[in-house]
């Protein structure tokens, strides 16, 4: 347990430190939210219609941004070798790395998402649901993204490869979350979409580490 906590604090500190993780992601997120009205035109009605979806897509892209540092850095400096030697199962270590990634980028983005959506003209009542969806979706993005990041370890042009691998894995959470937000703003039942998003995140948390650990062992072999 103490090992797991030590690893978690290391991951979070590394991700937060050096002006990395949250600032880059938040900057990217703010950039997308600012550029969107400039590109689509500032009519409030049109912006309000796309605001929740745009906030949601920007979240998925911002999650993609920090993925290449999730395993690559530890792979290059040998820390990943040490992690495989530790008594902590590699599956748990991978799960903790993704959790740290989520704490450093997913959680701050979840706080920023409602603000950005409301600034774009979404209804304020939507804010709690956007926050909850972003929190859940961020978890799914981190763990599914971890699969892509670990598979492309040691590959040429790993960052691009990660994006290609992760794109199909991001489809269900984007659909579920976007659907829940859309139904809510249309006054339709939204619980089904949110429950499916939570189920997908739970499955990603449960099964993702197995694939990640297998991929890491393969890259180190």
């Amino acid at each position: 347990m103490s090992r797991a906590l030590a690893l978690l604090s290391r991951e979070t500190v590394l991700a937060w430190g050096r002006g990395g993780g949250p600032l880059v992601s938040l900057g990217f997120y703010a950039g997308v939210a600012t550029l969107l009205p400039l590109a689509t035109g500032p009519e409030p009605a049109r912006l309000a219609a796309v605001a929740p979806g745009a906030a949601w897509v920007a979240l998925a892209l911002a999650a993609l941004l920090s993925l290449d540092r999730l395993f690559e850095r530890d792979f290059e400096d040998g820390a990943l070798d040490l992690l495989t030697l530790s008594p902590l199962p590699l599956e748990i270590a991978c799960a903790i790395k993704c959790l740290g990634q989520w704490l450093a980028t997913g959680a701050p983005l979840a706080l920023a998402a409602p603000v950005a959506a409301i600034a774009l003209g979404a209804k304020p009542q939507l804010a709690p649901l956007i926050f909850a969806c972003s929190l859940m979706g961020g978890l799914a993005f981190s763990f599914m993204g971890g699969i892509g990041a670990s598979l492309s370890l040691g590959a040429r042009r790993g960052g691009l490869l990660t994006a290609v691998i992760v794109l199909p894995l991001f489809v269900p959470p984007v659909i579920f979350g976007g659907g829940a937000l859309d139904s809510f703003s249309g006054g339709l039942p939204w619980r089904a979409g949110f429950a499916l998003l939570a189920a997908y995140a739970a499955a990603a948390v449960a099964l993702g580490p197995l694939a990640m650990a297998a991929a890491c062992r393969n890259a180190l072999s």
Partner: protein, 242 residues
């Protein structure tokens, strides 16, 4: 799926079998395709769709194969990952470009059919989107294998990705169904029996079998090519060592 994998897992036996099986499947594919196309072009025009209904005889078998090949890819990847069998890996590697080609064919013929029928080349509909995602998964698999230099590592990483995709694709399919649907549902494999007349059903089934045989033939040729390539590389390494 793989006929008698235990028998064919021996590379020598596989090479002896595929030597005559590959051209035989090819001949069967050509014969079935000729029969299917003949019946397809002599079938009467559809009362609603006119001549464009004949696109179905290419489009639907390609769509069937796009999924069937993924099942083959996933099973071969599983066998390669669990038993570390080189032939299973060669099978997975050879299946991926074929699957991508069938998926691409289904997408292109679908677009050609969609333009006259729906008035649009592409609509963001559930079926179309899930096939597009399937195509992306094939591309990701091919890209992953191509960008890892170490053959053994590329094989295992590819197998992991293929299995993750196999778990994920039903969810993708279900999620896009829930998202939006315009494409018609299944009309051949239904509980109530096929929803089309025999004049269309026969050419469709013949073309489906022809595509299946063509895949079998090309797959065997692809696996043979992989085996020869690996043997050539091993021989080159031996020669270099002196």
């Amino acid at each position: 799926m793989i006929p008698a994998p235990a028998f064919l897992s021996n590379p020598e036996r596989f090479m002896a079998f595929s030597r005559w099986a590959a051209p035989m499947f090819g001949v069967i594919a050509v014969a079935l395709a000729l029969a299917g196309l003949w019946l397809g072009f002599t079938a009467p025009e559809d009362y609603q769709q006119g001549d464009t209904v004949r696109i179905m005889f290419i489009h639907v078998p390609a769509a069937w194969l796009s999924m069937f090949v993924y099942v083959c890819l996933a099973v071969a990847s599983f066998l390669a990952l669990v038993f570390r069998h080189a032939l299973a890996d060669a099978a997975a590697q050879a299946a991926a470009p074929l699957g991508a080609a069938f998926t691409f064919l289904a997408l292109v013929t679908g677009a050609l059919w969609g333009r006259p029928m729906w008035g649009a080349w592409w609509v963001w509909d559930a079926r179309l989107t899930s096939v597009l995602v399937l195509f992306l998964v094939y591309l990701a698999y091919i890209a992953l294998r191509a960008s890892l230099d170490d053959e053994a590592k590329a094989a295992r990483a590819g197998a992991i990705l293929a299995l993750v995709g196999a778990v994920n694709l039903p969810v993708v399919k279900f999620s896009v169904d829930w998202w939006n649907t315009l494409h018609q549902g299944a009309s051949v494999f239904r509980k109530q029996g096929p929803a089309m007349t025999n004049e269309f059903l026969w050419p469709l089934l013949l073309m489906g079998l022809a595509f299946m045989a063509a895949f079998g033939s090309l797959w065997l040729v692809g696996i043979r090519a992989q085996v020869w390539r690996r043997r050539a590389e091993a021989a080159a390494l031996r020669a270099a060592r002196g």
